[in-house]
């Protein structure tokens, strides 16, 4: 072993490349390489095997000869060749005719894809976009879409995805296997949908991206207030979608919304990981560059013709928060007004809850409590801890101590994210109530 090591390091100096550098380049290219391999091979599993083979080949060769000029094209070619080798090796499972047909199909696709060898960035973008639309196809269950997107587009491991959804790894692995089998067997196309289907499909893709983001920004449970990796992946996907579909309303608004929320990340948690509420946040910790980018996108998203989308209005609300130099300077009347717009266009119980909180900032806690009680009476948010937590807050501000304690206890029974639980316990203690 030492002999090999010294030979490797020697050759690194002569133009070979150290292993960590190969790994870094591979990680940067992995999703695009996989997307193109799926497009060439027409099968998720075979493409994943081929990408893995390409990586092994790269480890072997790049450490000797250095990284090629176009590593992505190199990896795609290596993956494709290995896939053809595998097909040949497995020919006893296939008839000769099937094998030749497969290989001919791959080669024909590769002819179409000769662009990958050089400058055709657009073709690669297209493959990636196709991959996203396939993973988010409405014929797949919502949870399967999210899992498949995280696995295939974001490159998270099955273990990582299982931990996001608090599921045993075999359950998540099974979910991914089933989703890939459905794509293959039901003939879910590897395509960006036709124009007439695009608006509906794009909504589905945006929903998946936003779900990934909210899993990262406000995880349902666990020890930490945010999961940076998921926020980052969601923003990366949002950027990508926006870059490829700049003229479509939706991607710009969603990206703006995510950027603006995420810009607060460092200010949201204390050194011990405790929640710091908006009111107490040190606004100098907000990411100014990200805010500027988000604000520009909000404006662009509101300029699309037609009525504004749900993400655009939510992003506009986030923008008002970010524009306030201090909490006291927040433009609550306008925020409450935008929530009313949202409620009219896209009513959901969660929006209604946020509206009630904004109204309370304008008209006082009594009015807020009335709205919250109306939501609670309908029972649609029965297991959603922010509802009793918001009621508790109103009651506390109104000086109704025992009712506030009751509501905080109710919220605590529903919350499973550790920092949220600690915050609720603190509030209970302040009010002299026990858990």
């Amino acid at each position: 072993m030492p002999a090999t090591d010294s030979r490797r390091s020697q050759e690194s100096r002569d133009g070979g490349c150290p292993v960590p550098e190969v790994e870094r380049v591979f990680r940067a290219e992995a999703t695009r390489v996989l997307a193109t391999l799926i497009s060439l091979l027409g099968d998720f599993d075979r493409a994943e095997d081929a990408a893995q083979d390409a990586f092994s080949a790269a480890l072997e060769q790049w450490t000797e000869t250095g990284i090629p000029g176009n590593p992505r094209a190199w990896l795609v070619a290596a993956g494709r060749n290995r896939a053809i080798d595998r097909l040949r090796r497995h020919r006893r499972f296939l008839s000769k005719r099937q094998e030749l047909a497969h290989i001919a199909a791959i080669e024909a696709q590769s002819q179409l894809a000769t662009g990958i060898a050089s400058e055709e960035e657009s073709r690669l973008q297209d493959d990636l976009l196709r991959l996203i639309f396939t993973c988010c196809h409405p014929a797949l269950a919502q949870e399967a879409r999210v899992a498949l997107t995280l696995r295939t587009v974001c490159g998270l491991t099955t273990e990582e995805i299982a931990s996001v959804f608090l599921l045993p790894v075999p359950t998540m692995a099974q979910r991914l296997v089933r989703a890939k089998a459905k794509i293959r067997e039901a003939g879910i196309p590897y395509e960006v949908p036709a124009d007439e289907l695009l608006p509906e499909r794009l909504d589905g893709v945006l929903a998946v991206i936003y779900l990934v983001f909210t899993q990262g920004y406000a995880p349902a449970s666990g020890a930490s207030l945010t999961r940076e990796d998921l926020c980052r992946e969601a923003i990366r996907l949002g950027r990508l979608l926006h870059a490829v579909m700049p003229a479509h309303p939706g991607p710009d608004a969603l990206l703006a919304l995510m950027l603006l929320h995420d810009a607060r990340r460092d200010a949201r948690a204390g050194p011990e990981g405790d929640i710091i509420l908006l009111e107490q946040q040190d606004r100098s910790l907000w990411d100014r560059r990200q805010i500027e980018e988000g604000l520009a996108l909000v404006e662009a998203s509101l300029r699309h013709p037609g009525r504004p989308g749900a993400y655009a209005v939510q992003a506009a609300i986030a923008a008002l928060h970010m524009r306030a130099a201090t909490f006291a300077e927040t433009d609550w009347p306008q925020i409450a007004g935008l929530y009313e717009v949202l409620l009219r266009l896209y009513p959901t119980p969660v929006i209604e809850l946020n509206h009630a909180v904004a109204v309370a900032m304008v008209d006082g806690p009594e009015r807020g409590l009335m709205l919250l009680d109306a939501i609670a009476a309908r029972g649609t948010l029965a297991n959603y801890h922010p509802l009793p937590a918001a009621r508790a807050e109103m009651l506390r501000r109104l000086g109704c101590q025992s009712e506030a304690i009751e509501a905080y206890r109710e919220a605590l029974a529903l919350a499973s994210l550790e920092p949220v639980r600690r915050h609720l316990v603190d509030r209970l203690t302040e009010l002299g109530g026990s858990r």
Binding site: A139, A186, G187, I188, P189, P193
Partner: protein, 116 residues
């Protein structure tokens, strides 16, 4: 690929339609079938008699049991089918969406399994 488009609808509701409504539905079905024959998607298709005419057969321990009625009681019943050739699931679902009963019932789209 080939897909079976299974047409489910509430029999009682469909049976309660007026003669004029039934004639209009019939005509719509005729036009739809014509159009997918013309486009080359059509392989086969039929309407079924009501589930009151259904018979279910099971063989257990070598014994054949024949019972009246469909396999399961459901809100919507199988009323007919089309077997179509489609490029992929998107084409199959857009054909399914054009079946007149899709507006009142539901269409299950099932890929045909090939053994080779």
């Amino acid at each position: 690929m080939q897909y079976l488009l299974l047409i489910y609808q509430n029999e009682a509701q469909a049976g309660a339609a007026s003669p004029a409504q039934m004639a209009a539905m019939h005509q719509e079905y005729g036009a739809f079938t014509q159009s997918i024959v013309k486009s080359g998607n059509f392989k086969a298709g039929d309407a079924l008699q009501a589930t009151s005419t259904a018979t279910t057969v099971r063989v257990r321990d070598g014994k054949t049991m024949t019972t009246d009625g469909p396999f399961a009681e459901t809100r919507e019943q199988l009323a007919g089918y089309y077997l179509v050739e489609a490029k992929n699931l998107d084409e199959a679902t857009s054909l399914a969406a054009r079946i007149p009963s899709a507006r009142i019932g539901s269409i299950e789209v099932r890929p045909i399994r090939k053994f080779d």
